[in-house]
């Protein structure tokens, strides 16, 4: 009898994995909220985010992909034909390795050393006037790049390469985690809205309209201004405000799926709403979700960089936006500090755009946008 009950419960929430996942997710969200708003942290909030998103990715991405290896192989063959997508994928892998392994080989990105300030990258040299204490005059000195600091140093003598490696980690974290939250939320809202229709649809879509009315970056600035900047909070805010576009796209895709035969068949067999949404609708929009997620990562990374650039980023981490800010403030002396992080940002955005376009073409040969 208990087994029957359990089966009924499992059926109601849409399969055994959701039975495990739902309490886990709620528990995590609760601890996360507690963590953000209490000063003494048990565990870094970003750590929680990683674990939670790791679990979701494992259940909804890795496991289904593993189950349909043949299909994955088929799509991979098609993505492989797109040279730009492969190059982009290569760059993203390089970036991940840089962020993971780089800190082992580079110096402390926050170490200030005024003895070695304003050193240009290797291969460049700059002239600067230095105050000579003994004669009391300014003399012109030529500084050239050294291999000790391959990308040079900023006006406080911090190693640019080390800062760049640290920034890669920050950008990837923000990009992947915030996109994960935004896309998950957008998918849920879009699918539920389309599937239930009627009043629920109306309310959810009006709410989406309201959120879309705020210009994204201005809303971000507004919220971070009020609540204060910390990396985990910025990730959360981008995730909680950036889901609107996804929700709209997923909703319209689901609307066309809703009346298809396999959904009707599932209904006729007595599947619950939860099961239909999670076991039939979501897997069928997964290719769209993957494309949307890949193409939203650049915007998220840029949003965080722009926040740091205007001085609203987490002051305790070195991000690309912050380096760019430092570079802009001493543009006439250390131009390289402004150039290098921007190049990295640009290449990262380009790489994700290439991969996203490649995936879209592979999944849907009809679209040629």
């Amino acid at each position: 009898m208990t087994k029957k009950r359990l089966n009924k419960l499992v059926g109601r929430v849409g399969g055994i994995k959701n039975l495990v996942l739902t309490p886990l997710a709620s528990l995590w969200l609760l601890t996360l909220l507690l963590d953000i708003f209490t000063p003494g942290k048990i565990f870094s909030p970003l750590g929680y985010l990683y674990i939670a998103i790791g679990i979701v990715v494992l259940i909804y991405v890795v496991w289904p992909l593993y189950k349909s290896r043949r299909l994955v192989n088929y799509y991979w063959q098609r993505v492989k034909k797109n040279k730009l997508a492969v190059v982009g994928l290569g760059f993203i892998l390089f970036l991940i390795l840089l962020a993971l392994l780089g800190p082992l080989f580079t110096a402390d990105p926050t170490a200030v050393n005024f003895e070695e300030k304003n050193i240009p990258p290797v291969g460049f040299s700059v002239e600067e006037s230095v105050y000579h204490a003994e004669t009391g005059q300014f003399i012109t000195k030529t500084a050239s790049g050294t291999w000790g600091h391959p990308l040079g140093t900023d006006n406080k003598g911090r190693d640019l390469l080390a800062m760049l490696v640290s920034g890669a980690g920050v950008s990837l974290q923000v990009g992947l985690l915030a996109t994960g939250i935004a896309v998950a939320l957008g998918t849920l809202i879009g699918v539920v809205s389309a599937y239930l229709g009627g009043k629920v649809d109306n309310i959810l879509m009006r709410f989406t309209d309201i959120m879309m009315t705020f210009p994204f970056f201005l809303l971000l600035v507004f919220i971070v201004f009020i609540f204060g900047p910390s990396l985990a909070f910025i990730v959360l805010v981008i995730g909680l405000t950036g889901w609107t576009g996804t929700a709209r796209l997923i909703r319209s895709e689901t609307l066309s799926l809703r009346t298809r035969e396999f959904i009707l068949a599932a209904k006729a067999l007595g599947a619950s709403d939860g099961r239909i949404v999670l076991a039939h609708l979501v897997p069928n929009v997964i290719s769209l979700i993957v494309v949307i997620a890949t193409l939203s990562i650049p915007g998220v990374i840029l949003a965080e960089a722009a926040l740091s650039f205007i001085g609203l980023g987490d002051p305790s981490v070195t991000s690309w936006g912050m380096i760019l800010r430092a570079g802009q403030q001493s543009l006439d002396v250390t131009w390289w500090v402004a150039v290098v992080p921007g190049v990295m940002l640009f290449l990262t955005v380009l790489a994700f755009n290439f991969v996203g376009d490649g995936l879209r073409d592979a999944f849907d040969p009809r679209s040629n946008v």
Partner: protein
Amino acid sequence: MRKTWLRDYIIKRLFYAVIIAWGVLTITFILVRVGPTSPADKYLANLAARGEEPSQVIEAIEARYGIDKPIHEQYFDYMGNLVRGDWGWSFSTSMPVIELIKKHWIYSFQLILLSTILAAIVGILIGIYSAVKQYSKTDYIATFFSFIGISIPNFWLGVMLILLFAVQFGLFKTYYDTSVPLFSLANLKQLILPVVTLGTAMMAGYTRYTRSAMLDNLRKDFVRTARAKGLPERTVIGKHVFRNAVLPLVTIIMFDLGSIVFGGAYLTEIIFGIPGLGRISFNAIFADDYAVVVAVTLISAFLVLLINLATDIAYAYLDPRIRYD
């Protein structure tokens, strides 16, 4: 029949717009109220920093912000004040917020207007050309540059333009000069770099969109018919293909205003020191001047709302196929 339908449609859209406006106001109110520090705290801290005696003004502030009232009364006061045009007091500039905005909106407006118009014209022209000459060298170059334009972070582009054209070549000033009259050539000249900064991503997007929409329409049956009946190629492209391809672009341009352009203009104004709404909001953030930040956020949201409403209604008039579900 269509006329009454149109009237109903407009009424419905207006009704939605009111709901959205209410939602925007409510969300802003909640965010400010839930925030860890109250505006009064920041105001007090500011006064203390300037060496004034806070205790004397506490009552005045509480009355001004209505902190002592119950929350629902604060909520209605907040709505009522905004509707009456009382947008609060900016203590960092010592003037009413509404006056501050009246003084500065024109700088944002000129930047956004010039960038959008230039980006649309150039983007559409390049897009048409590369669609008509598909797979030509120009097409490849245009596609390549539009990809770069879309991916380049606009604030970095701004900094690089300053580095190159202002610091290295000395062609422009690194900073926007407000003493230059608005309607003068000198003002246009100092807007060149900001307009390029803000307009590049838009232009690249419009190029890509126009190209693909033109290509889609070039394959349609009515184009074949038009060619078969012997119309000159110029008429086929200009009338049949272009008109069908470009109408949806209007929506995209309007949508971009809210999603990309306002944020981009915010950053561009900060980089170049243009004293528009973005810049005053930025200054207000670092002076903890709540009222200004709230006002700029609200104004931008309301502008998006109005633009969307206008676009939707214009569309309903122009395109007979539109139905609202």
